[in-house]
Symmetry: C2
Subunit: 709 residues, 2 copies
């Protein structure tokens, strides 16, 4: 009996009443601080402090147990030592409370998994949603509920923060207050035993007060659902993520070959991009982005114009634009016609538009008017170096006027001011009004950059989703057979069959059970051929001499047969040899690798890269979480650095890129829909000239009885 | 009669007297502002305002001309309109003034090159050094001289700023004041008609007041000298550079193939690294670094330890350490022995050392004591998330105490504090005292990162400089001949001779003047051979069918001879064909490219990369300015991403890396010492297994009558 999620979430964010189980008289205790915060901040609902040993705390009536409360209780916050939490939860169930936050620590984070699981199962059985344990609480501006033991001063606003780190979260409350960043909510998710980022984001994107969401993430458990939620959520609101553990130390151990190709952070990074989530490097950047995005429009096109009063800062900004992938308007003639009236003698109408150090406030405003009214210009970066020509008051009022005048026309305008005292005053005043004014051009440009990521992401997301003609049932039959044989991998012929079902072409082949058959098959295929042992006891066939290439005639096939049997028996005398596969030796082409596997964090993911050293040495690969649509699959191929090799360099012809995309798409579709397949690797996929297709030279498929991983 | 540089520079930074030619009564004029700044800031020397139409300005006696001054004048500052500057300079020469700053604009920056050149030649003839024109002036704390028209409030300190941008420079004065960054000097270099960064750095590294130098550079003219100066200067003081124009728009047009391999910014970047100059991305970062480096010691070893009261911020910092290449101390057992007494129950003695949110100020201090006293730990990052356990006062005093106690022991310690109001107070107070306290861990870690760049650079700089046995005279003879033939390139046989002189091995070859000779040479070399046309009229031989490969016997050589002649005549009927070169077809190996050329900005530079797509598609190349020592040449080979291919991957043997280094070193030596060679490209250099050497398959040498470029 799981409750409707949104309604449980509504009780978390807009409870009409809250019980604090473990409210305390002792000001040094968390049970006191939370109650105190709730009261001080002016929560609009009913407050029920629970403590069997107190009558009054902070002037409020204290209840000795939940049973004593006559009214309904929408949520409870438990601040008892770990060992008393389960009992308290049982009482919550009795009182029919559907959302409980467990502030207490002492659970899985210190190895006490059992207690956490017990609590969790009980809660699930009784339809109770749990936030925590091991959290500092949560704040919801809507009902002025500060059920945290952090600071009381939280300015209301439109940024929602979800944090996995307690200390950082509490400190972020202070930071946002200092920087005039208003919050709609801040939620500490702690051990995420039940409620996680996915649940919260799903609710927050529908909540009017929240205009942008910041997530601080350390680790991901239910990544597959998170990806699904994020893909939808970013269509509605900007989401910024900081993920710590970028470094190797934090990378998860990846079991299969595919996983070892790149650290887990590259996968996280790729998937967040795929979801349209904006990844910040550090907290300050994340806060800047969230503040900016909570008010800023998404641009309606490229063609950014820079307006400046200093050449140097203009060039620096041009550099920053390249870094953050902002495309500057480059129609010199058009710009000259537009701006020649507003620039001084030594100024420039080339982008950056340089008004020179002589520019007055009025001239600045005029130039901005021209830019912001123009139909071909979709965003403006306005730079200012402190000069004697403009004082703080006129600059502040000019910026305010321009910002207010144009803020409704969906054209981003960002200001960057560089200088001393005067600059500080202007920035301090304007940022209180949520006008985007920055101290450093790189900060300003990075904000516009994320707006453009949003803009461009919106062009890709709704790619058509062709369902390939692949019989998942037939593949399941192969998988059934292998698993019932006690194998966790497919044999070569089964792999070939899977390729066939998938509509993908592999080399011609047959299994020879004796030396005579080997020759027959080889003659049938045509020379040269490759021969490979088929044995459940030998997984790394090449390493033991179980694979021989370049067999050009009957004699060589005869020799090869005997050599392979000899080598395999030498490796493992009792190895069961099911036969020798004789395979067409495919002609050379450009080798690419397609690998899919179930990631511990994200579920099914797919990887693409050029074969050999491109993947292994240059780490030139792309990743996506499944499912991917066709358009996104194309991006996956196009974004690798070695893509020009597929387009054809140095006189080489263009390769059959469409067929690569088609293969990735189908392999992804199979992995997505066959939950008992844990890994599929096509390595190499031989790619020929455009029109000549591709050939899957080898396919390795790993299985597991347990669906997923 | 060029004056001794240092002494001229001393007059710029410590003049005993200054004349302001063009001093004005009008407060809106630059000629007023500069005089006013000089007086207000309290310049300790004599001030001579010059203006034929005024008696007094700002209460000072005004001279109608330099001639009226009886005393000696150490320097003059000219603030007249461009057209009067030359006359004023002549007067300076008469008065025997040796340093003149030309504030005035209207010269090369607006296309008026002629006037600037005229001034420059006159100054050079008379031993006068010029700063400018087109500058806002300069400030020197030593004599309290603010000869700028920027702000008057410049706190004295130890950072020197050299800026090519006026507007940015003036704004930087304000910025440094706001951020408590004291300056020893700030110099606007403007058009750099004479004095440039090299001159200033050369002086500033010897000046006691200056502890770190910041350069804002837009373009480089005399790069070769700058490189030479910077290489020496960074051994004495940290130098930070911001170079704008990173983006493609700003990249200089590169004429030769080598130059087109990577944008000019990659070259700048590589050369600055080679010089030990620290490149900041933006102004804030540059200022942070300069402030930090002006007081911080260079660490004596790796093994950084992070001490934190929050796990999340600890992980973020670990990430930042990877980004900025800081190596964390990883001896878990050692760390556990060291820190087990100072961490709480739930804390961690693994690096980051986590004191948990419960840590008090005293416990923090204790942990820092332990770290800073330990012999194996060479630097410490101390992190703090705002908690209720520590208030601003105790935190401030703890940090101050620890910093003061250990600042003399040459072990960097950097603090990063994250939070709200309290954090702001702590940071504001401590940064006034030049204690390195940051708001964001990435900023803190980047500072430690540049310290480690310095530390590591010091290990490389003084590599031995073996002079290779290469006769520059013999090479000059070849160059002479080619140039006197009217050619700006070497013919194939000349290229081979150059390789021979350089002690490098190319394929065996000979020039056939007729078809019979071709066969003789081929038989002599042994098959297979390659045949190539030798013609001054055909530069791109392959493109016109002038090269044929894989010639396995006499018949094929005979055919090839005729085919090549036919193809070349078809391409250009009157092409002069000097012969056909018959060349050993070298056996395949790993192809690398070595390219040297004279860069417009930096003079002779050298490039290395793996052949083919690694250079062209993956842009995987390394650069250095010449000369490079042997150790630095090794780094050049090791730093490319595809280096593992030379080490041997996938069962391949290690390649002859020593021989590659030797070849780069020799090619560099030749380019460096033969000024009429503009480009040398060895492409490909075939590299074999370790011990089996390398072979220069093709060499292209371009020449110019004019030395340098």
């Amino acid at each position: 009996m799981v409750m409707d999620k949104i309604s449980a979430m509504k009780k978390l964010f807009e409870p009409r009443s809250i019980a604090i189980i473990g409210a305390s008289k002792n000001p040094s205790k968390v049970g006191y601080k939370i109650l105190n915060n709730i009261i001080q901040v002016g929560y609009s609902g009913k407050i029920y402090p629970i403590n069997p040993n107190a009558d009054q705390i902070l002037g409020r009536k204290v209840y000795s147990s939940l049973e004593d409360i006559t009214g309904e209780v929408d949520m409870a916050s438990i601040v008892l030592p770990a060992k008393f939490v389960f009992e308290a939860l049982k009482a919550c169930a009795k009182k029919n409370i559907k959302v409980v936050t467990i502030i207490s620590s002492g659970f899985s984070e210190v190895g006490n998994l059992e207690e956490e699981r017990k609590i969790n199962s009980f809660a699930a059985e009784h339809g109770i949603r749990i936030l925590g344990p091991n959290i500092f609480g949560h704040y919801s501006a809507k009902v002025s509920l500060n059920a945290t033991f952090g600071p009381t001063n939280i300015p209301k606003g439109n940024v929602a923060i979800i944090t996995q780190s307690g200390a950082l979260g509490v400190a972020m409350i202070g930071k946002t207050a200092v920087q005039n960043i208003g919050l709609s909510s801040i939620i500490s998710v702690g051990n995420k035993s039940d409620i996680d980022e996915a649940d919260l984001v799903e609710y927050l994107v529908e909540q009017d007060d929240t205009k942008s969401i910041l997530m601080y993430i350390e680790g991901i458990q239910k990544g597959e659902r998170l990806v699904k939620v994020l893909k939808e959520a970013t269509k509605k609101k900007p989401i910024v993520v900081i993920k710590s553990g970028r470094s190797k130390r934090g990378a998860i151990a990846a079991a299969s070959h595919t996983g070892s190709l790149a650290g887990a952070d590259e996968i996280f990074d790729a998937i967040m991009r795929q979801c349209g989530v904006l990844r910040a490097e550090n907290i300050q950047q994340a806060l800047d982005w969230c503040k900016y995005l909570s008010t800023a429009p998404i641009p309606a096109g490229e063609n950014t114009v820079i307006i400046t009063n200093g050449g140097g800062v203009g060039v620096l900004t041009t550099d920053a634009c390249e870094k953050y992938n902002i495309r500057l308007f480059e129609d010199t003639q058009y710009l000259n016609d537009l701006f020649s009236d507003v620039t001084h003698g030594f100024g420039s109408t080339k982008n950056p538009i340089d008004l020179t150090g002589e520019a007055t406030s009025a001239e600045y405003e005029h130039a901005l008017d021209v830019a912001l009214k123009d139909d071909k210009i979709y965003s403006v970066l306005a730079l200012f170096c402190e000069t004697a020509m403009i004082d703080a008051e006129s600059l502040t009022s000019m910026i305010r006027t321009v910002y207010e005048k144009y803020k409704k026309n969906k054209k981003p305008i960002i200001f960057s001011i560089f200088g001393g005292e005067m600059t500080e005053r202007v920035i301090t005043d304007l940022s209180k009004e949520n006008i985007p004014v920055f101290r450093d051009v790189y900060d300003a440009v990075s904000c516009l950059g994320v707006s453009y990521i949003q803009f461009r992401h919106a062009q890709v997301v709704d790619g058509e989703d062709r369902i390939p003609k692949v019989s998942i049932n037939k593949i399941s039959t192969i998988v059934d057979k292998a698993l019932s044989d006690g194998r966790e991998f497919l044999l070569a012929d089964e792999g070939q069959e899977l390729l066939h079902i998938a509509g993908l072409s592999g080399p011609k082949s047959g299994i020879a059970r004796n030396i005579k058959q080997a020759v027959e098959i080889a003659e049938d295929i045509g020379y040269p051929v490759v021969m490979k042992v088929v044995s459940r006891d030998i997984l790394h066939k090449s390493d033991v001499g179980g694979v021989l290439l370049d067999l050009d005639n009957k004699e060589e096939v005869l020799d090869a047969y005997q050599t392979i049997i000899h080598n395999c028996k030498a490796f493992k005398s009792n190895a069961v040899i099911d036969g020798i596969e004789v395979v067409e030796q495919v002609k050379l082409g450009t080798e690419v690798i397609i690998g899919g596997r179930r990631d511990k964090a994200f579920g099914p993911i797919i990887m693409f890269g050029l074969g050999g050293i491109y993947v292994e040495v240059m780490k030139d690969v792309s990743f996506r979480a499944l499912p991917v649509n066709y358009r996104e699959t194309r991006l996956m191929v196009e974004e690798i650095k070695s893509f020009p090799l597929l387009l054809g360099v140095r006189g080489e012809p263009r390769k059959d890129i469409e067929k690569i995309i088609n293969t990735i798409y189908r392999i992804g579709y199979i992995l997505q829909n066959c939950p008992r397949i844990t890994d599929i690797e096509v390595n190499p996929l031989m790619v020929y000239e455009q029109g000549n297709g591709v050939k899957a030279v080898d396919i390795r498929v790993m299985l597991s009885e347990n669906e997923g991983i």
